[in-house]
Amino acid sequence: MTMDLDKSTRKPFVRPVEASWWTKKGFYLAYMLREGTCLLVLAFVLEMLGLYIMTALHITDIQHMNQAGLESLQSYIKFLGHPVMIAFNVLVLIAVLYHAFTWFPLMPKATRVIIKDRKSGLYKLLEGKYLVALLVLAFVATTAAGIIFFYYPQLIAKLLTPLGLFEDALKGLFGSKGLPF
């Protein structure tokens, strides 16, 4: 085949962009799953909004412990305890934990702390693992505190009451009625 050297044969081939690009690679799939956790977060927020709206609607009944009026709020709480809702919340929890453990390792990338190494005298980047450890610690502390507070409120009261110092503070924190014990 003879070619005319003055004539360009350029004909760049542009590969098409497929909407399913993220299914082609494990790394991309993990990314899309990470982004997808937000759907369950949103669903849980709506679940909580429902609880909050029910509370606001029945606020007078709650204040006066008006049993008849409290029933619809209680039925919403019962609904949250239904096995289907529990299963759904377990799913949300898994998604949120997946979010958390993809979120923490990325945080050090958005911060930069330069320190002077005592041994070598060289300047270097503070390793990100310390920040990750700090975040994981915060996560563990909050989750543990959350569980203890919601399941064993008496425990906290028992720990604090002997000190006598926090009684008024607790009352202020927990609203006009204070703790029910």
């Binding site: 849980f44 305890g81 919340n89 996560f139 959350g146 009625k177």
Partner: protein, 118 residues
């Protein structure tokens, strides 16, 4: 706001980032607590005392509002990832929904606060 010479993403990104931190650190505790609502010692009276507290209630809606902006910001960007061209309409719908949910939380908070105070 809505300037031509620069993106307004810093606002949404800031809320997304703060929300992401809240989802990662605080939300697991709230989910676990919710799963136990019906069975734990936390009966309606207990629940009421917590929810009536202005401090706890404010913290709660703060957490929920940040989670909302976090989730909807991610949805907005995921639409783009699915090669859907996101324009002004998508922007208004998605961040409008975030605003609506935020206002609902704030509205309920104010009702609870004022009914509790007076």
């Amino acid at each position: 706001m809505f300037r031509k010479d620069r993106s307004d993403e810093p606002i949404y990104w800031g809320l997304f980032g703060a929300g992401g931190m809240v989802v990662a650190i605080v939300l697991p505790a709230i989910i676990i607590a919710t799963m136990g609502l019906n069975h734990s010692v936390l009966d309606t009276a207990m629940f009421a005392n917590v929810i009536l507290s202005p401090v706890f209630s404010l913290a709660f809606i703060g957490i929920m509002i940040l989670c909302t902006w976090h989730a909807l910001h991610r949805i907005y960007h995921t639409l783009h990832d699915l090669t859907i061209h996101v324009g002004t309409l998508h922007h208004l719908l998605i961040y409008g929904l975030a605003l609506l949910i935020s206002l609902a939380f704030i509205g309920c908070y104010l009702i609870i606060l004022f009914k509790n105070l007076f």
